[in-house]
């Protein structure tokens, strides 16, 4: 062990330790996996937004990203595959005081859970949905998903993916989300600022975050995790408020990042009260 690093290791407290279940750290995510960085940005934003953390909970589905809820030292729920949004909807409707955060993967939210996503956004349920998009089903060994870029190699598309991936911000906008943004795990300060904004806004907020899965996506596509991050730096363009139809996932053209939608449609609870709770 290098003596030039530090002495009393066991006494060191990381600034986010009060929000994580430190007994479960190191977490299960692989070296270079981007999920931890996005999770850490989410924790930072939860603190800086000054929301009441006693009234905040996190819901995840299944997958590597889905493990996040289990590391949060607040009320958190690890639900079944694809069902984070309906579970979170129930939480919010039963206790409207809660700040509800959904933190899950692209496969969980948009493949098996795709229908729940569009209806959560349509009804504009008051919650913040953070999707870690690593282009693949990480946990189960790297199968092609609804977000895998064209021509990308996966275990189930050995010669390349023939199909077009979802443009997630376009889908969120078209379905009715109040707030939509996209960043990568390298753009952490912008990402944290947007999560902070999303947490304090009303209605359905959606943030897509690109993050590497070096173990399954990276290895198959000959891209180590540092190379993926360099791609995020060199092949992205920040353009706020562009037409969501321009946001397709095409690294040759360049990936557009930014804040794209910020509107005030009435929320699910407001609509319900107005229609069903007749005074």
């Amino acid at each position: 062990m290098a003596a030039d690093i530090q002495a009393s290791q066991s006494e060191i407290v990381h600034p986010l330790d009060h929000l994580i279940r430190t007994d479960r750290i190191p977490h299960i995510w692989c070296p270079g996996c981007g999920i931890g960085t996005v999770f850490s940005a989410c924790l930072k934003a939860m603190i800086s937004s000054r929301i009441d953390l006693e009234k905040t909970c996190m819901v995840s589905g299944i997958g590597c990203t889905g493990r996040a809820a289990g590391y949060l030292n607040l009320d958190s729920f690890h639900t079944t595959h694809g069902r984070a949004i309906p579970f979170a909807t129930g939480l919010k409707l039963a206790n409207p005081e809660l700040n509800v955060i959904v933190f899950s993967g692209d496969g969980d939210l948009f493949a098996i859970g795709g229908n729940h996503f569009i209806h959560g956004a349509r009804r504009n349920v008051d919650m913040t949905v953070i999707c870690v998009n690593n282009f693949i089903y990480g946990m189960t060994g790297g199968q092609v998903g609804a977000t895998t870029p064209v021509k990308a190699k996966t275990t189930t598309t050995p010669v390349g993916n023939p199909d077009a991936p979802f443009n997630l911000p376009l889908l969120a906008w078209a379905s009715g989300a109040n707030y939509v943004a996209r960043w990568t795990m390298l753009h952490i300060r912008k990402l944290t600022a947007c999560i902070e904004k999303a947490l304090t806004r009303k209605g359905f907020s959606f943030i897509e975050v690109l993050a590497p899965c070096p173990t399954n996506y990276g290895r198959k596509n000959k891209e180590n995790s540092l190379e993926t991050l360099r791609l995020y730096r060199d092949k992205t363009i920040i353009k706020n408020n562009v037409d969501p139809s321009e946001l397709d996932m095409d690294f040759e053209k360049g990936i557009i990042l930014g804040e794209f939608v910020s509107r005030e449609r009435p929320t699910c609870i407001e609509n319900y009260d107005r229609t069903c709770r007749i005074p």
Partner: protein
């Protein structure tokens, strides 16, 4: 710091200095903190932790400006920076 022409306010501008702290057993040696530190403070050390991952160490500790970037990019909650001293330019 060296200047071509010295700005008039060098005596009032203060530069934050930081100190990086590494929690060795959490690090998985991804190298993100090393690659993306804007001041090239960090480098891989020869040593490794119990799990066998190579750790970063502050090779140029005096260059750290306490920007926290290593802290926010680390996926492992394994590194952070804190205020060291505030010096003049």
């Amino acid at each position: 710091m060296k200047f071509l022409g010295e700005p008039y306010d060098t005596d009032v501008i203060k530069v934050a200095k930081g100190k990086v702290v590494i929690i060795e057993e959490r690090c998985k040696g991804c190298g993100y903190c090393i690659e993306f530190c804007p001041r090239s403070v960090l480098a891989f050390s020869k040593g490794f932790n119990k799990k066998g991952y190579h750790l970063p160490f502050a090779q140029k500790p005096d260059e750290c400006v306490n920007c926290h970037y290593c802290e926010i990019i680390c996926p492992e909650f394994a590194i952070f920076s804190e205020v060291h001293t505030i010096t003049k330019l």
